[in-house]
């Protein structure tokens, strides 16, 4: 039994699960701010990839990881503004606008990477430092999991609470939900629906951009073409699985990243051969199960996906 536990190493399993859930949770929080106000944001994938690239490129040339993180967030906001203009002001179908951004992001980051960065010979910017929280990090089990992390993971843990508070306790949150459920009612109550949606879409870009910084600046200290590998879509699944609530989306992200980790350990420790592709399907399968109403219905904001046009 002890040998089994040693091989499985549950503390490191949980710790890696939390770390790999970071970009999923951040992008899901972003998607949530966006969808709660009535705009679908399938562009999370492209925004994260752009954030990963810009964050890395800026850190590379400035030799400063923190400027890189800030640049990743900013670039996310800029790409999200594009989505906002297209889908809110120009009434473009929100899915189409999002797909355009995703396809564009893969192409542009790939080209710039190959042209300017791939052959660069100077040393990379490295990765964000590990911060051990004094006292708390020495608590057994909990310490190594929660209090020996890097910046983006700490930021994620704080932002879960912040987004929850904003959505359900503040005036902004009430107005956001009103715009996502019944924009016309919000308008007649004197709320500027387009303004609320713009701010939320751009906020979602900031959150997803920070999620992008995880890949290049926290995880490996390098950029690779298409390194987000569909995590933006899994984040959307996590948001739905979590019923458009921050804590729920965090739980779903943990479930998805945890199942990934367990899958790879099954192979390395127990030599059980499950093809990776099957494990990769899990998030989507679970999402379908939830959408089909098997675990209590997940109800999307009523007006999500519909451009709002003043009369």
């Amino acid at each position: 039994m002890s040998e089994f536990l040693q091989q499985l190493d549950p503390v490191s399993l949980l710790s890696i699960t939390l770390i790999t859930a970071t970009p999923l949770t951040l992008a899901a929080l972003g998607g949530m701010m966006c969808e709660r106000s009535g705009v679908v944001n399938i562009a999370l994938e492209g925004i994260m990839l752009t954030g990963a690239f810009i964050g890395y490129a800026v850190a590379f040339f400035t030799h400063n990881l923190w400027i890189g993180v800030a640049a990743a967030v900013l670039s996310g906001m800029i790409i999200a503004s594009l989505h906002a203009v297209l889908s809110i002001s120009l009434l473009v179908d929100q899915i189409v606008s999002g797909m355009v951004i995703n396809i564009m992001a893969v192409g542009i980051t790939g080209v710039f990477y190959r042209t300017y960065l791939e052959s660069a010979t100077s040393a990379g910017p490295g990765t964000l430092p590990h911060w051990n929280v004094p006292v708390l990090s020495s608590i057994p089990v909990i310490g190594p999991i929660f209090f020996e992390n890097q910046f983006v993971t700490y930021a994620m843990l704080v932002l879960i609470l912040v987004v929850h508070f904003v959505l359900f306790r503040t005036v902004w949150g009430l107005r956001t939900r009103a715009c996502g459920e019944h924009p016309r009612a919000a308008e007649t109550a004197g709320i500027n629906v387009h303004f609320v949606r713009y701010v939320n879409v751009i906020t979602s870009g900031a959150l997803a951009g920070l999620g992008g910084a995880y890949f290049s600046l926290q995880q490996i200290g390098n950029f690779l073409p298409n390194m987000t590998g569909g995590r933006g879509y899994i984040a959307l699944a996590a948001m739905i699985f979590g019923k458009w609530t921050p804590v729920g989306a965090f739980g779903a992200s943990l479930l998805f990243s945890g199942s990934d980790q367990i899958g790879s350990r099954m192979q390395s420790v127990f030599h059980v051969q499950i093809p990776l592709q099957f494990l990769g399907m899990l998030p989507y399968l679970l999402t379908i199960v939830v959408l089909a109403g098997a675990m209590g219905r997940a109800i999307a904001p009523a007006a999500v996906g519909r451009p709002y046009k003043k009369e």
């Binding site: 306790r169 503040t170 005036v171 902004w172 949150g173 009430l174 107005r175 939900r177 009103a178 459920e181 019944h182 016309r184 009612a185 919000a186 308008e187 007649t188 109550a189 004197g190 709320i191 109800i299 009523a302 009369e311």
Partner: protein, 485 residues
């Protein structure tokens, strides 16, 4: 198009000012201008004697103008208090003070006698209570002039009485109320002053004392109208439709039609009266085969039809005027002619093998257009370009054109002008006289009362009483509709 053309309207404090007109007369457009949702191309609005410029509802709210829309502007998943304070939240540095919000709502509802629990979710409330929340919302924003847009459309007669009491109380407090409606009876009961609109213009301003219902109707329509349907007593024959202990579930899998039984005979109109949402739509769906039934029997001419497809039922002599015209009645993008053969487009004479027969379709369409007086430029124009009244006449024409045995008429005159209502009613009565059995399902009690030969009152999915229409007591039906036994 000019929805409002040179309109003048004067509203005074301490008055209920009724704005009377048919659908499409421009009442709602006018009120949307006053509420800042629309901008006028020319003209002036004075409030408290001063000219005002309204760019958005926010400007109107600031002046003390409140509006209760026909389709409620409430957000179902949010609570009563959240809905009321939305846009004018009680907050401390952006953080909601929910306790204080609820407290304020309670104070307000006590002051005006509008009882409602601020912590309840809107989705859990009845329509009457939702309307109360809408009124409270306007009062919370400091409304002194309250605009009520078709406020009685969704209420029971008793709830309408309650609303009138509230309106009178508000006026007694010194407020002004604009009451938009197309129902003549209400105007005489609640209004101090009446302005009648027709086709975007004001036809005249009067008071209930000066003008009787018939005069008002003439002003509204522009000609004399029959307020009652003229019909001879029914001569009912053999039973056509027989429904026994029918149980049907709604989309949320709750029981919507609960052990319902009724029968309709040749040459009679059986009217189902009831407030919307008591199982009407589920009953109609089940009879047409659009929704599966949980239990019970449905027989037409003594033959069980519950296992037949909708197509087979239409072939077997059922006709349907669907309650929601745009969802089920017409395809707005298709031409008038195509819509008229929608039930039958793939059969002779409208199709041979796989080829549609356009001449036959067109001839048939021209014939129906003439018989049913559908006003249009060409049978090839899309249905979406017709007025609501003409769209509805098209639906009626298509159904009666197939000469059914049994017509299920769901809200046959919803959103239709008075002139077309009269026409549609006359068509239904004359088909009845030729032996058609009609099941009329309508939430307009006046329509059920004037058209039916027998009336069944529907409450929570059950027919709670069946009465002869001759001499039926309106108040008693109203009470039954509200669930009194």
């Amino acid at each position: 198009m000019r929805a409002n053309d040179g309109v003048d309207l004067d509203v005074s404090w301490r008055q209920v000012h009724a704005l009377l007109g048919e659908n499409g007369a421009g009442k709602s457009t006018l009120m949307n201008i006053v509420y800042g949702l629309l901008r006028p191309d020319s003209g002036e609005i004075l409030f408290d004697g001063k000219p005002v410029d309204l760019h958005s509802p926010l400007d109107a709210i600031r002046l003390g103008i409140g509006m209760v829309h026909q389709h409620f502007m409430l957000i179902p998943p949010l609570t009563v208090a959240e809905n009321i304070v939305l846009g004018h939240e009680v907050a401390n540095r952006g953080v909601m003070d929910l306790t204080e919000s609820s407290h304020k709502v309670e104070q307000l509802s006590e002051r005006f006698g509008l009882q409602v629990d601020p912590r309840e979710r809107i989705a859990e409330l009845s329509v009457g209570l939702q309307q109360r929340v809408e009124i409270l919302k306007a009062l919370y924003r400091g409304a002194r002039l309250l605009i009520l847009d078709e406020p009685t459309a969704v209420l029971t007669p008793q709830e309408i009485e309650g609303l009138f009491t509230i309106v009178r109380a508000l006026v007694a407090e010194g407020k002004a109320v604009i009451f938009i409606t197309h129902k003549l009876a209400e105007v005489s009961e609640v209004a101090d002053v009446i302005t009648v609109m027709r086709r975007g213009r004001v036809v005249g301003t009067t008071t209930p004392k000066e003008s009787k219902s018939a005069d008002l109707a003439r002003m509204m329509v522009g000609r004399t109208v029959l307020l009652r349907v003229e019909k001879s007593p029914a001569k009912p024959g053999a039973q056509v439709l027989k429904v026994d202990n029918l149980v049907v579930l709604d989309d949320r899998r709750h029981v919507a039609v609960d052990n319902l039984s009724l029968d309709v005979r040749v040459g009679e109109i059986f009217g189902v009266a009831g407030v919307e949402g008591n199982g009407q739509n589920e009953l109609i769906d089940a009879l047409m085969g659009l929704r599966s039934i949980r239990a019970g029997k449905v027989q037409v001419d003594g033959r069980e039809i519950s296992n037949l497809s909708t197509h087979a039922r239409l072939k077997g002599g059922l006709g349907l005027i669907p309650p929601d015209r745009h969802r089920m009645g017409v395809v707005l993008e298709l031409s008038v002619a195509d819509n008229l053969v929608l039930d039958d487009f793939d059969h002779p004479p409208f199709a041979r093998w796989l080829v549609r027969q356009f001449n036959a379709i067109r001839d048939y369409a021209v014939k129906l257009i003439k018989t049913f007086d559908i006003r249009l430029q060409s049978p090839d124009q899309p249905v979406g370009s017709l007025s609501g009244g003409n769209q509805q006449k098209l639906v009626v024409a298509r159904q009666l054109g197939t000469l059914p045995k049994l017509l299920i008429a769901g809200q046959p005159t919803r959103g239709v002008d008075v002139g077309s209502i009269e026409f549609i009613h006359r068509q239904i009565v004359s088909e009845r006289d030729r032996g058609l059995a009609v099941l009329l399902v309508s939430s307009e009690l006046d329509e059920v009362l004037s058209l039916s030969d027998r009336i069944g009152v529907l409450y929570r999915g059950r027919i709670v009483a069946v009465l002869d229409a001759e001499g039926a007591d309106r108040d008693r039906i109203g009470l039954l509709m509200a669930g009194a036994s």
